[in-house]
């Protein structure tokens, strides 16, 4: 039986969150910002999928073993929605300001 230790997965997920925060703080291009957000979302999805296979959850009477995977499906859908809305904002910003630099998007009044 193969087991995957919790530390390894949490190290990967934490690393991805750290990369995501680094990207959000340093990049100025709106599309790169969206990509950094996606990396962070993927860390969350990875954690949900990992803990769905956790024996403490599988044996608990109140917990369905596939709840983690079901939530992961919802989060993947939400991430795709977020990219669609984000790209709509990028297109509106590009049409009105002629740039995709978030530093120049300094007004809510388009």
């Amino acid at each position: 039986m193969t087991t995957l230790p919790v530390g390894d997965f949490l190290a990967l997920a934490s690393g991805l969150v750290a990369i995501s925060i680094f990207g959000i703080l340093t990049r100025r291009n709106f599309i790169l910002l969206l990509i950094a957000l996606e990396i962070g979302m993927n860390a969350a999805i990875l954690s949900f999928v990992y803990f769905a296979a956790f024996p403490q959850c599988v044996t608990a009477a109140t917990c369905h073993p596939l709840t983690g995977q079901a939530i992961a499906v919802v989060v993947i859908g939400l991430a795709a929605t977020e990219v669609a809305v984000g790209l709509a904002i990028v297109l509106a910003l590009h049409r009105i300001r002629g740039t995709t630099n978030v530093a120049e998007a300094n007004s809510l009044h388009l």
């Binding site: 530390g7 990967l12 680094f22 499906v73 993947i76 929605t81």
Partner: protein
């Protein structure tokens, strides 16, 4: 020369007596690729190269889901992320740039973002790494039981997701509509 069967059941010997299973070895390789491609996606200067690296990142994570015996999520990751999201981002770049292969202006990487990222990483590892146990991926949970859970009337996951997507669609159309100043 070790028998492949023996390797699969007992793992690969490393450093004397300790064994690392092939699943763990595969996970380590995939994890290194994930971190490397994630960093490269944010650090390369050409936006089109960013899209290539993030595509590899999504495919790599889908391989990790297959490793965790979650084949439906692996396929969903390939279809939605590696397929749709990557192409959508590429489309966004093509629409908003005059020349597709043009470099971004260099942005200085200050010490503060790196410090914040490192602090977050250390905090998360310190807080969560204490959890005992290890996951045991089991193939016994089929796609059929997952769909039973997803389309359950008591926990309408997909219904809520559909409502969110519908309102997001309306919001996106409102944002890019014609006839505004």
């Amino acid at each position: 020369m070790r028998d492949l069967h023996q390797c699969l059941s007992e793992g690969v010997p490393v450093l004397g007596d300790s064994h690392v299973s092939l699943t763990e070895l595969a996970f380590f390789a995939l994890a290194v690729i994930a971190v490397a491609t994630g960093l490269l996606a944010l650090l390369v200067r050409e936006l089109v190269h960013t899209i290539l690296w993030i595509g590899i990142f999504f495919v790599d994570l889908s391989a990790i889901y297959f490793l965790l015996e979650a084949p439906f999520l692996g396929v969903l990751q390939l279809g939605v992320y590696a397929g749709a999201v990557t192409i959508l981002l590429l489309f966004g770049i093509m629409v908003t740039r005059k020349r597709i292969f043009s470099r971004d202006a260099a942005t200085g990487v200050g010490a503060l973002p790196i410090a914040l990222a490192v602090v977050t990483f250390v905090f998360l590892i310190g807080a969560l790494g204490q959890l005992p146990g290890a996951a045991v991926p089991a193939a016994s949970y089929s796609v059929a039981s997952l769909s039973t859970l997803l389309f359950n009337a008591e926990a309408p996951y997909l219904l809520l997701l559909g409502l969110v997507m519908l309102s997001a669609l309306a919001g996106a159309i409102y944002l890019v509509r014609e006839g505004r100043e």
